[in-house]
């Protein structure tokens, strides 16, 4: 069982609502769903689609083809026509050419007649979709009831009536072609996007401050913080990304765990602040939600173009960490880890996500917080008679106090500084020791960074190497290569910088799979670890990497 449904229309037509209702029907019926969005950077109009894939076991990766295409207007139909499989169903509100596997269903008329108003047309469309894939109507009725309960029983009833009409009309048009009813599976799944769980993980990690400037696809993060205001995390929309990172650094210097979130252009504005964090040794977590560049690029599309940027961003030489989750659970784990590493090493930590990860919803058996979340990041002021913020230590990490903590004064300086934090131009002793102090942290971090996950490489002669959001697609590609008799394996990097000191597990053909045109991970592994990488399967058109995309390009 592996079915793919595309709901296509214009922005504002409600495709996300239809998609969400149908996705919840599958989940309620015991089937895991992966849903992703592709849309244009506009508020109304254009072509966009919600893509729902349901399977029996979670398969958290996109499909590029559709078994069912619900197209709400002719342009949307054209937009997705190539994706519809020859044996698939097309559902449209256009009733005129009603032949073969095309269901023409007048959603608006049905909604008006049965729901009382045209606004229930989307419920009629959801009904038709459910009929076309064999979902029992009772499941849809249940989901509509819970979705619209807050609007009152009349609204629920109108939605259910319109949906019923759509369902019945589709079933009667399908006639003998009505699919077999999907059996109910006894399973439940957590259904979430990566960005929506960040505030929960951050709050668990003791974060109390986020300042950010709205920028797709990162905006959902601060929005989720603001929505969950009762968790006690202060959120502020800054006047620009420069203010965002500098506010967060101020809050962090004053002792609270703090973060910011942005995308490529905003991250570019934050770069001086990242260097500052390295210099003043003040922890900060920065989510960099990637989208295609350069410059404004494709604001609502996906990419993995900023790996080398994240690793290199900032003038001068200083330690930092770059992590890249691949699904919501790993996002929780790495968010907690980001705060922990930021504090233990007093460095900036970049959490690299992307539009695909941000706007897709994954089905996981469960979502959980790590068992142990250490947040005792400040030193005990009673340990010091006089306090020096940058006191020399073997590890390069000095005990950190917040401003005024325990009656101490604390000095941070972006200039080169003495152990007490005061500006200096002592080039003979202070500067060399300060450089060494900062770089000692890099050496120690390198040992702390977790090695990549290595899968099915024992007998493999082809190994696909990826990072971040492509994990599910690469795993699926390896599965399908194995089915075809190819000896394929994969390696996945979730912790990317400092590069963990690992060798290639064996001799084989290594190819990276990346959402960029130049093979940034390949360059990193060649240059940083001396790995021999034969080539890169890259994608830079703004769409997510799917297994089919990989298979079509596999050597």
């Amino acid at each position: 069982m592996d079915r793919s449904i595309f709901v296509a229309g214009s922005a504002g037509e409600g495709i996300q609502t239809i998609g969400d209702v149908v996705a919840r029907c599958f989940l309620a019926h015991g089937y895991p769903v992966f849903a992703n969005q592709e849309f244009e950077s506009r508020i109304r109009g254009g072509n966009s689609s919600t893509r729902i894939r349901f399977t029996e076991e979670p398969r958290n990766a996109p499909r590029e083809d559709a078994d069912v295409l619900l197209a709400l207007n002719p342009a949307a139909r054209e937009h997705c026509a190539d994706a519809l499989r020859p044996d698939g169903f097309l559902i449209t509100p256009d009733t005129s050419p009603n032949e073969g596997n095309h269901l023409g269903i007048p959603f608006v008329d049905l909604a008006t007649e049965h729901g009382g108003q045209a606004i229930y047309a989307n419920a009629a469309a959801a009904g038709a979709l459910c009929a076309a894939v064999g979902l029992p109507f009772a499941v849809l009725e249940g989901v509509l009831s819970s979705t619209f309960a807050k609007h009152g029983s009349e609204v629920v009833q109108a939605n259910v009536d319109a949906a019923r009409a759509g369902f019945d009309r589709a079933a009667s048009q399908l006639g003998d072609g009505v699919p077999e009813e999907l059996p109910r599976r006894n399973a439940t799944y957590a259904y979430a996007s990566a960005h929506e769980v960040i505030p929960i993980a951050a709050a668990a990690a003791g974060c109390r401050f986020i300042s950010a400037y709205p920028m797709s696809p990162s905006t959902g993060i601060i929005t989720a913080f603001a929505r969950d205001a009762d968790l006690g995390v202060f959120s502020e929309q800054a006047e620009d990304e420069i203010a965002a990172i500098n506010m967060s650094l101020g809050a962090s210097a004053a002792g609270t765990r703090a973060m910011t979130a942005t995308s490529g252009g905003g991250f570019a504005l934050m770069v001086e602040g990242i260097s500052l964090a390295g210099m003043i040794e003040t922890p900060i977590v920065i989510v960099l939600a990637q989208r295609p560049g350069p410059a404004t690029g494709l604001p609502t599309r996906t990419a993995q173009e900023d790996l080398l940027f994240a690793i290199r961003a900032g003038h001068g030489e200083f330690p930092r960490v770059v992590l890249a989750p691949s699904d919501p659970q790993e996002t929780i784990d790495l968010t907690v880890r980001a705060f922990d590493l930021a504090d233990r090493y007093q460095v900036p930590v970049v959490l690299l996500t992307d539009q695909h990860l941000a706007d897709s919803r994954f089905s996981l058996d469960r979502l959980e917080l790590p068992a142990d979340i250490p947040i005792d990041h400040l030193a005990d002021p009673a340990d010091f008679e006089t306090y020096a913020r940058y006191a020399p230590t073997e590890t390069g990490v000095s005990p950190r106090l917040a401003f005024g903590q325990g009656g101490h004064t604390v000095c941070l300086d972006s200039d080169e500084h003495t152990p007490e934090g005061h500006i200096t131009e002592d080039l003979q002793t202070v500067r060399p020791a300060a450089v060494e102090k900062r770089l000692e942290k890099v050496r120690r971090l390198r040992k702390e960074i977790r090695p990549p996950d290595v899968n099915r490489t024992d007998d493999a002669d082809l190994i696909l190497v990826g990072w971040g959001s492509t994990r599910g697609a690469i795993a699926e590609a390896v599965d399908r290569l194995r089915v075809d008799g190819r000896k394929a394996g994969s390696i996945h990097f979730a912790e990317l910088w400092p590069l963990p000191d690992v060798a290639r597990p064996k001799e084989a053909r290594y190819w990276t799979v990346e959402g960029n045109a130049t093979g940034q991970l390949a360059r990193l592994l060649r240059g940083g670890l001396g790995w021999s990488i034969e080539g890169t399967i890259g994608r830079s058109d703004g769409l997510p990497i799917a297994a089919r995309y990989i298979l079509e390009r596999t050597p």
Binding site: H29, T188, A190, A203, L231, N246, G273, R366, Q405
Partner: protein
């Protein structure tokens, strides 16, 4: 009572001998001591420039960050620990030029911080280029034929944006400046004090030229009259009116709603968010019919 000696710093001073910045430093130390604030209760925030080195020259908490970015850092510090007296002390190029946008939005946010702008009307540390407050027509070491754009009017801008304490001081009058700084620091809203600080190395006029033109704001000036305060702020053609231009009732400070919820202590003292609350929020993502 805090003694001024408690604010002594052993850090070597890098200012030019005789720089009026020494007057601002002396006035600030006196103001802090007379307000009975201990050094650990004060957080000095600065950007980059000669003025921005001031925090090193007295004992206090110090955040000497990036050029132009003192204001957002100070806002973050204010939110994280409102018990600190957060004071920004930086130059006109830093606060009005590189960081002008932040200052504009700080007026809107109204954090309880004091902003002291050392206004020497020149970029001194980079050796003599025009600053946002250099008067039109003045020749500099970059604007060789004279500055061709008008100076920024940040005091008037502050008043227009609802800033409830706006003053102009003179670095050559330590007594008068101390009084202004005490009022500014005690004011529980954003206060802006622009301090005329003639640059004795790159400036076009010696200190005495300013001293002759500094005039006290008349006793009958009503600091609650915003329209009048804007007029006084803009009236810098021939003289510099010094004193408190505008003092209005304190406004609700930034993050007040949040502070109503979490109390007024440092955020690092708050207990952890209850784990079961967070787990419940994750569990909500599980779809059940």
């Amino acid at each position: 009572m805090t003694k001024i000696e408690e604010y002594a710093s052993s850090v070597e001073n890098q200012w030019c001998p005789g720089c009026p910045n020494f007057g601002i430093l002396a006035a600030l130390k006196r103001a802090l001591a007379e307000l009975d604030l201990a050094p650990d209760e004060v957080c000095l925030v600065s950007g980059i420039g000669q003025a921005a080195k001031l925090p090193h020259y007295l004992k206090a908490n110090v955040y000497n960050g990036l050029h132009g970015r003192a204001i957002p850092a100070a806002i973050g510090i204010h939110v994280a620990n409102p018990k600190l007296k957060t004071i920004v002390t930086s130059g006109d190029g830093d606060l009005y030029g590189e960081g002008g946008n932040h200052l504009l939005h700080a007026f809107r946010r109204n954090p309880d911080i004091t902003v002291i702008a050392h206004d020497n009307r020149i970029y001194a540390l980079t050796k003599g280029q025009a600053s946002p407050t250099t008067p039109r027509g003045e020749k500099t070491r970059l604007q060789f034929s004279g500055v061709e754009i008008d100076p920024a009017q940040m005091l008037a801008t502050a008043i227009v944006h609802g800033c409830t304490f706006v003053a102009r001081g003179f670095a050559g009058d330590i007594e008068g400046l101390t009084g202004i700084l005490k009022r500014a620091i005690a004011h529980r809203s954003l206060s802006l004090v622009d301090v005329i600080q003639p640059c004795i190395t790159w400036g076009n006029h010696p200190v005495d030229w300013y001293r002759e033109r500094v005039v006290p704001i008349p006793d009958d000036h009503d600091p609650t009259d915003r329209d009048r305060a804007v007029s006084v702020a803009l009236d810098v053609e021939d003289t510099f009116p010094v004193g408190v231009l505008c003092e209005l009732p304190e406004r609700e400070t930034f993050a007040a709603t949040y502070r109503d919820r979490v109390g007024d202590g440092p955020l690092y003292e708050l207990p952890r968010v209850d784990r079961s609350t967070l787990e419940e929020r994750l569990d909500r993502r599980t779809v059940r019919l």
